[in-house]
C-alpha cells in the first residue's frame, strides 16, 4: 500500500501518538487529534487575542439563544434525548453485528466497503482509490472524520488537491489556518476578517462587489466553487449517520455544497467512523429532530441527503465507503468513557462552554475541541499522546455541556473519570501535591497538631497581614507560585473559628453564671 503518514500535522509532537498496530498492545488513534501543546499553554496564547474572544462570545451567544428557542418548541425533547442516548448505547452493544449488516446491505446496493484501523491506513486507502480514478483533484464535503485522519495533507503529499467546499472550511483553507469549531470551523473570524481573507486569497474574486455583508461573502464563495462542482470527477465525504438495516448514508448540511459533491461526481468516497451507525431507518426520526436544533439552532437544516449504494441514472456510479476505527475501539473498552462514542458532532457543548467561549477551539490542539474534545481526543489517542493528558482539565465541571448534549453524554463525569485515570497512572511517582496532601493529612489527624499548626500559620503570617493591609497575597514564591499564578492566596484569619468559638462559649458560660446568681 502506498501513501503513508499525513505530512503536515498540527505540530511535531503529533508523531508521538503513532500507534504500534496489531500485537503492539496500544491501538490508539492517530492524526489531527493530538494536542501539540499542553492546554494551559495553548489557552494562554489564545487568550492574548481580544478580537478572537469578542468574535467567539458574539457567535456562541447567538447560537445559544437560537438553540434554546427551537428546543423550547419541542414538547417531547427530554424523551427524544433519552431515546437518542439509548439508540446509540444499543449501537455500541451490537456494533459488530450492525457493522456486518451495514456492510452487507451497502454492498448489495452497489457500494464497496473498506476498513481502516487507523488514520494512516484510512488515508492510504482513500489516496489509492483517488489515484485509481486518475483524478488529481477532489471536492470535499465538510467531514470531521477526514479532518481527524489528516486526509487533505495525505492527498497533498500524493499530488492530489483536496478542495474544501463548505464555506467555513474554505475560509480556513484560504487563510491557511486550522478549524476552531466542529460545526463552524471559522467561528473565530468575524465578517470583516473573512472579507479580508477572500480579498487577499481567493483567486479571481471581484473586489468591486465584495463587501463584508454575509450575503456578498456567500455569493463570492458560490462563484469561486461553481466551476469545480460542475466539473469534479471525485468527491470525498463523511457521513452523519449510517443505517445498518439499509446500508444508507446520511449527510446533514446547509449550503448545498454537500448535495453538489454527493450528486454530480462519478466517484464518491465516504469516510465513516464505525460508531456512526444507527440500527434502522426509523431511528432517523429521533436524530433528525435532535441534530439540527442542537447544532445550528434551526428546526431543520436546509439540506439532508440520504443515499444507498449507487442508483442508476442518479448520482455517482461508483461508491466507496471507508469504515474507520482510529481509536474508537480503545474508547469503547472504557465503561465510563465509552459514552463519548454516542456523540453526533452537533457542537452544542462547545457553544455553551465558558472555557471554550474564552479560549476558542485552537487551544485544544485537536480537530475535536471544547468539552466533547476534552473527553474524545485523549480517549481516541490514549492519554500519552502529545499533550492530550492535559485536556480533561480544560473544564470548570460546570455541567452546561451535559444539559445541552442531545444524546445525554455526561461529559463532567467522563472528565473526572479521565482525571482519575491520569492520577492513577502516575501513582508511585514523586509528586509535590501528594507530599503536601500527606503532610496535611498528618496534621489534621490530631487535634493538638492541628491547633498548633493554625497558631503557627497565624503568627507566621502576621507581618504579611500588616504589609498587605489584610487583603491577601498576590504572588507567592516558587513552588507555591503555581497556586498564585491564577488566584490570590488568602491570609489566615487573625482569629481562628475554634478560638472564636472557645472564647464565645467562655463568655456565655460566665454570663450564664451571673444571671443565675
Amino acid at each position: 500500500m502506498t501513501g503513508g503518514e499525513p505530512a503536515a500535522r498540527r505540530g511535531g509532537v503529533a508523531e508521538a501518538a503513532v500507534a504500534t498496530g496489531p500485537g503492539g498492545g496500544h491501538r490508539g488513534g492517530t492524526g489531527n487529534i493530538v494536542a501539540p501543546l499542553p492546554f494551559p499553554v495553548a489557552a494562554r496564547r489564545e487568550l492574548g487575542d481580544a478580537q478572537l474572544r469578542a468574535n467567539l462570545r458574539r457567535a456562541t451567544h447567538t447560537i445559544r439563544d437560537k438553540r434554546l428557542r427551537v428546543v423550547g418548541e419541542v414538547p417531547d425533547w427530554p424523551q427524544l434525548r433519552a431515546a437518542g442516548a439509548a439508540i446509540k448505547n444499543d449501537v455500541l452493544a451490537r456494533l459488530p453485528e450492525l457493522l456486518e449488516q451495514f456492510e452487507a446491505a451497502a454492498t448489495a446496493a452497489g457500494a464497496t466497503v473498506h476498513w481502516a484501523r487507523d488514520a494512516a491506513e484510512a488515508c492510504a486507502l482513500v489516496t489509492d482509490l483517488v489515484r485509481g480514478t486518475g483524478s488529481t483533484e477532489v471536492v470535499k464535503v465538510k467531514s470531521m472524520a477526514t479532518q481527524e485522519i489528516g486526509l487533505n495533507e495525505a492527498l497533498a503529499e500524493a499530488g492530489i488537491a483536496a478542495v474544501e467546499t463548505d464555506l467555513a472550511e474554505l475560509i480556513v483553507q484560504l487563510a491557511d489556518d486550522t478549524p476552531s469549531h466542529i460545526l463552524v470551523p471559522a467561528i473565530h473570524y468575524n465578517r470583516r476578517q473573512i472579507r479580508e481573507i477572500f480579498a487577499r486569497r481567493m483567486p479571481g474574486v471581484d473586489l468591486g462587489t465584495l463587501t463584508d455583508e454575509p450575503a456578498a461573502l456567500a455569493e463570492a464563495a458560490r462563484r469561486h466553487l461553481r466551476a469545480k462542482f460542475l466539473s469534479a470527477k471525485v468527491a470525498v465525504s463523511g457521513a452523519n449517520f449510517a443505517i445498518a438495516e439499509t446500508g444508507t448514508l446520511v449527510v446533514v448540511e446547509s449550503e448545498g455544497n454537500g448535495r453538489m459533491c454527493l450528486t454530480l461526481p462519478e466517484t464518491l468516497i465516504s469516510v465513516v467512523g464505525v460508531e456512526k451507525l444507527l440500527p434502522t431507518f426509523r431511528d432517523l426520526e429521533v436524530f433528525l429532530q435532535l441534530l439540527p436544533r442542537s447544532s445550528t439552532g434551526e428546526r431543520m437544516n436546509p439540506y439532508t441527503s440520504m443515499w444507498t449504494g449507487v442508483t442508476p441514472g442518479d448520482g455517482p456510479t461508483t461508491l466507496h465507503i471507508v469504515l474507520v476505527d482510529n481509536g474508537r475501539t480503545t474508547t469503547l473498552a472504557d465503561p465510563v468513557g465509552r459514552q463519548a462514542l454516542r456523540c453526533i458532532r452537533c457542537s452544542a457543548c462547545l457553544n455553551v462552554c465558558p472555557v471554550y467561549e474564552r479560549v476558542g477551539g485552537r487551544a485544544y490542539g485537536s480537530v475535536y475541541p471544547g468539552p466533547i474534545g476534552a473527553i474524545l481526543s485523549p480517549q481516541l489517542t490514549g492519554p500519552e499522546a502529545g499533550a492530550n493528558r492535559s485536556l480533561p482539565y480544560a473544564s470548570t465541571l460546570c455541567g452546561a455541556c451535559f444539559d445541552a448534549c442531545p444524546v445525554r453524554i455526561d461529559i463532567p463525569q467522563v472528565l473526572v473519570h479521565l482525571r482519575q485515570r491520569g492520577v492513577d497512572a502516575r501513582r508511585g511517582r514523586p509528586s509535590a501535591e501528594r507530599a503536601a496532601m500527606r503532610t496535611m493529612s498528618w496534621v489534621m489527624r490530631d487535634r493538638r497538631r492541628y491547633a498548633a499548626a493554625l497558631r503557627a500559620a497565624r503568627r507566621g503570617s502576621a507581618p504579611l497581614r500588616w504589609l498587605t493591609g489584610g487583603r491577601g497575597v498576590r504572588r507567592l514564591p516558587w513552588p507555591l507560585s503555581a497556586w498564585t499564578a491564577s488566584r490570590d492566596a488568602p491570609l489566615p484569619a487573625a482569629q481562628t473559628f475554634r478560638d472564636w468559638w472557645a472564647a464565645r462559649e467562655g463568655t456565655r458560660a460566665a454570663g450564664g453564671r451571673r444571671d443565675a446568681g
Binding site: G21, T62, V184, L225, T248, S254, D325, L332
Partner: protein, 218 residues
C-alpha cells in the same frame, strides 16, 4: 505497522475482534415514549397547513396557495418571466399548460446535462413525496414528479408543488410515509443557506437561491 499487517481483509477482522472484546454486553431497550407517527394517519387540517406555510416563510421560501383547478395559473404567475423551465418526466402536462416559456423534460429525448441545467435564468418545477409542517421541510425521493437529484440542485430557482394530502405534522410521520428508504432522498428546508458567518443564517450559497412552494389545497 508493516505491509503484511495491512493485508486485505485483516483490518476488517481485527476491528471486529477489537469491538467484540471491548463492547458492553448488557442489552439495551430503547424508550419510544417521544411523539411517534400515529398508527392511522390523520388528514391534515387547516392549522397544520398554516403551520407549514409559516415555517416555510420563516426560512425565506416564497409560498402561494391555490385550489387544484388553479395550479397552472398559479405556477405561470410564480414563474413570471423565466424563459425556460425544466421538469421531470412525471410532472403532469396540466401544471405547465398556461406557462408560455420553453419547457424541457428530463429524459425527453435525452437526460439533461449539468451544462443544460446551469443555464442562467432557468427554473425547475417538481412535486414532492411528503412535506413536514413543524419544520417546513419538503422531502423528495426521486419519484416520477421529482426526478433525479441534480434537477432540484443545479438550477438557481426551484418551484415545488405540494398537495395538502402530502403534508404531515412531524419528522416521524414523514419518514414513515416514504415508500422506499433506499431511493436517493433529499430533505429541503428553505433555500440554500449558511450559518458560517457569525452563526447567523444567510440565504443563498450553492443550492437554488430561490425556493417557491405552491400549496394545493382542497
Amino acid at each position: 505497522m508493516t505491509p503484511a499487517d495491512r493485508a486485505a481483509g485483516s483490518a476488517r477482522e481485527e476491528i471486529l475482534a477489537r469491538i467484540r472484546a471491548a463492547r458492553p454486553t448488557a442489552p439495551v431497550t430503547v424508550p419510544r415514549d417521544y411523539r411517534t407517527a400515529p398508527a392511522v394517519p390523520t388528514p391534515p387540517d387547516a392549522d397544520l397547513l398554516d403551520l407549514l406555510v409559516d415555517r416555510l416563510v420563516d426560512y425565506r421560501a416564497t409560498v402561494r396557495r391555490c385550489a387544484p383547478r388553479d395550479v397552472a395559473g398559479a405556477l405561470a404567475d410564480l414563474l413570471g418571466p423565466v424563459p425556460t423551465v425544466v421538469a421531470p418526466a412525471g410532472v403532469p402536462e396540466t401544471w405547465l399548460s398556461t406557462y408560455l416559456g420553453r419547457i424541457r423534460r428530463d429524459g425527453d429525448p435525452a437526460p439533461l446535462t449539468v451544462a443544460d441545467l446551469d443555464e442562467p435564468g432557468l427554473a425547475v418545477v417538481t412535486g414532492c413525496a411528503v412535506a413536514v409542517a413543524q419544520t417546513g421541510t419538503l422531502i423528495l425521493d426521486g419519484g416520477p414528479e421529482q426526478g433525479r437529484r441534480l434537477l432540484s440542485l443545479v438550477p438557481d430557482h426551484h418551484l415545488c408543488v405540494v398537495r395538502a394530502d402530502q403534508v404531515v405534522a412531524g419528522v416521524p410521520e414523514a419518514l414513515a410515509r416514504l415508500a422506499d428508504p433506499t431511493r436517493p432522498i433529499t430533505l429541503i428546508s428553505g433555500p440554500s443557506a449558511t450559518s458560517d458567518i457569525e452563526l447567523n443564517r444567510v440565504e443563498g450559497v450553492h443550492g437554488p437561491r430561490r425556493l417557491d412552494v405552491l400549496l394545493v389545497d382542497g
